[in-house]
């Protein structure tokens, strides 16, 4: 479904991605783990077209999207919950969700809204509250909900667990699992929280300094001693 082939991305002179190959198949949850500064966010943003890949190709459902303007991407069926959530703080929860549905047929709006509210009942309770006054967990729910409002076939999530309490993380990961299982949503999940991500994912990639160093099924990597040493020791359980 999503094919990243030999992608290099630069910030000025600095090469942040050094030839990345990643495949996400339809119906899968694929996770990308790596420590801070590895280039995970850069890869997600490159898929979305800013910054642009200097070399390599990115295709989605057979269509080359390497040079596609970022704002056209949502029309192809890719939605993103970006790093740092980036919800609209002065708008209400409801308005934020409306913004997510900007490029979809209004006839689906009600149905999609109900779907998001059923996944995150919290959002319904707070639908008139301003985004900026939500808790971190609620903001993350809103970011995912807003992404879902565009009826994507591929959902890109950048560190949804960042800064959240373990219980909230579990709740959000349960929802990711649920939409994958029930709605057959394909998910590409970028995480530092390797333990939860690997448990959830069908397949996983490990990135170090802009290079993919390991890949395999979630279970394999979870059992891998190197991974355990590098990413799992110390309190992620």
């Amino acid at each position: 479904m999503l094919e990243v082939r030999g992608v290099h991305t630069f910030y000025g002179q600095i090469e942040a991605l050094k030839g990345i190959d990643v495949t996400v198949n339809e119906g899968e949850i694929v996770t990308l783990i790596g420590s801070n500064g590895a280039g995970k966010t850069t890869l997600l943003m490159t898929i979305c077209g800013s910054p642009r890949a200097a070399k390599g190709t990115i295709t989605f459902e057979g269509r080359d999207i390497t040079r596609m303007p970022t704002h056209h991407l949502v029309g192809t069926g890719i939605a993103q919950s970006p790093e740092g959530r980036r919800i609209f703080p002065r708008m209400t929860v409801y308005e934020n969700l409306q913004m997510g549905a900007l490029r979809t047929d209004p006839k689906y709006f009600k149905q999609d809204l109900d779907m998001v509210y059923s996944l995150f009942p919290r959002l319904q309770e707070r639908q008139e509250q301003r985004g900026g006054t939500l808790s971190g967990g609620e903001q993350q729910m809103l970011a995912i909900g807003r992404a879902l409002m565009s009826r994507p076939r591929l959902l890109l999530l950048d560190e949804p667990s960042l800064g959240l309490a373990p219980m909230v993380v579990r709740q959000i990961f349960d929802v990711i699992k649920e939409i994958n299982r029930r709605d057959k949503m394909t998910v590409f999940l970028v995480e530092q929280n390797a333990f939860h991500a690997l448990k959830l994912a069908h397949r996983a990639y490990v990135m170090v300094n802009g290079v993919i160093t390991l890949q395999g099924s979630g279970q394999e990597l979870l059992a891998n001693p190197e991974i355990r040493a590098a990413y799992l020791e110390g309190g992620s359980h």
Binding site: C48, T70, H71, I87, Q98, E128
Partner: protein
């Protein structure tokens, strides 16, 4: 530490008293420094000589007022902060917001009331004042239009534009040129002038698409000046510093407001009065302002208008949701400029004469002040701020030279009282079923 402060009021008193005294003292020193040349010493011409009068009493009064005022303010604030423990700022804001929220939530009712007053006003004011009052009210309306126009650009889309006067000028000059050269009627010139201004909005918008914040402000400031310099120097077309005169007055859908046969008064069997024209213009601009308002309200609910606000909050998120920032910014510039162009047309047609002098930077500053003072993005706020800025200096007219001083003091006071503008609370574009909502909140609690 905070516990101790919270505990007893006896413990808080010295804590609050001393800083308040100190603050008052510093403020008084400032007044001495400022007031010495401004108030304390006065130079008078006595024949050929310049005589220095010393007015220590005046300075003393100013210092005393400052000291007491500052002390009371600081003391009360300190007490309030102490009472609320560690979070004085947050609390204060939400408290203040409740007024803004109340005003905003009843904006429709207030707006209709205001509109009703505005409609009735020309019929109830005593004749002696009529000309003056309607003149000022028309000015007021022009500034409301300008404020609403700039509000789209600055308040909603968050693009700090310091050269908004450029579009006001383009509108005024387009109107003047079209009306004087082609002799077309008001109702043709007005939309053309608006379109022209909108076109300029797009043209000037293109180069600044990638700029934001300070850089955008500086470049737009430049645009404002460029337009003015062009107006001064492009003599053959714009009349240079002399401007354009003889702009035809407004007509009643083709019927002139003239004395005698074929004029408005004789056609409608009224006694001729020069007020008819002024009142008609007032009603036209009032109608236009209402349209502008409704249009903007509507826009805020549509994707394009919604995107302005989203863009102001987070451009990256907007892109990922499929919003093309280029189009959205340009549409904000264009629409804002169009409103400015309309306002310019009204300025032209009312005065019958325009010159570059009317379109200096200070105009941009005043319009921006209206938007900021009103609370960025609030339509109601713009009206209130425009009322202050246009009407306040007028009411202080009898104080002659102290007029601008009083105006400045009022501005400072407002910013102290409401640092984020009169109506800083953003009203959601949609109210959901309030009852359901309250029920669900109760359930959750």
């Amino acid at each position: 530490m905070t516990v101790q402060v919270k505990d007893t009021s006896a413990a808080t008193a010295p804590n609050v008293l001393f800083p308040a005294l100190k603050e008052a003292f510093i403020a008084s020193l400032l007044i001495v420094a400022l007031g010495l040349p401004l108030l304390g010493l006065k130079a008078d011409n006595q024949g050929p000589d310049l005589v220095l009068t010393k007015r220590w009493d005046l300075l003393g009064i100013a210092v005393a007022v400052m000291f007491v005022g500052r002390f009371v303010l600081a003391f009360l604030r300190g007490q309030k902060a102490a009472r609320q423990g560690g979070l004085p700022q947050e609390k204060k804001k939400s408290g203040d917001n409740s007024i803004a929220r109340l005003l905003n939530q009843n904006a429709k009712v207030l707006g209709l009331l205001g509109l009703l007053c505005a409609i009735l006003m020309p019929f109830v004011i005593p004749d002696a004042n009529a000309r003056y009052v309607i003149f000022i009210s028309t000015t007021f309306m022009i500034y409301i239009m300008l404020g609403w126009g700039l509000n789209i650009v600055v308040g909603l889309a968050g693009l700090l534009d310091l050269g908004y006067v450029a579009f006001y000028a383009v509108g005024a000059y387009s109107y003047a040129l079209i009306a004087t050269h082609f002799g077309w009627s008001f109702w043709i010139c007005l939309p053309l002038a608006g379109l022209f201004a909108a076109f300029f909005g797009v043209v000037l918008g293109f180069p600044v698409l990638r700029l934001r914040g300070d850089y955008l402000a500086i470049v737009t400031l430049g645009f404002g000046e460029i337009i003015r310099v062009i107006l001064i120097n492009w003599g053959p077309v714009t009349g240079g510093p002399n401007g354009i005169g003889g702009i035809p007055a407004i007509s009643f859908f083709g019927i002139e407001f003239s004395r005698g046969e074929g004029g408005f008064a004789s056609d409608f069997g009224l006694e001729y009065s020069s007020m008819h024209k002024i009142i008609f213009l007032y009603f036209v601009i009032l109608g236009m302002a209402v349209l502008t308002n409704l249009f903007t309200q509507r826009m805020r609910k549509l994707p394009a208008g919604r995107a302005w606000e989203a863009l102001r909050e987070d451009e990256i998120a907007c892109r990922s949701l499929g919003i093309n920032p280029t189009n959205i910014k340009l549409s904000a510039f264009a629409l804002g400029a169009m409103f400015g162009g309309f306002a310019g047309s009204f300025f032209s047609v009312r005065a019958g004469f325009i010159s570059p002098e009317s379109f200096t930077f200070i105009e941009s500053a005043v319009i921006l002040a209206i938007v900021v003072l009103g609370g960025m993005g609030s339509q109601m706020g713009v009206v209130m701020a425009a009322a202050l800025i246009v009407l306040l200096p007028e009411t202080f007219r009898q104080f002659a030279e102290y007029r601008m001083l009083a105006f400045g003091v009022a501005m400072v006071l407002i910013m102290v009282w409401r640092p984020r503008g009169l109506l800083a609370f953003r009203e959601p574009t949609i109210r959901l079923h309030p009852k359901d909502h309250q029920a669900s909140v109760k359930e959750a609690a």
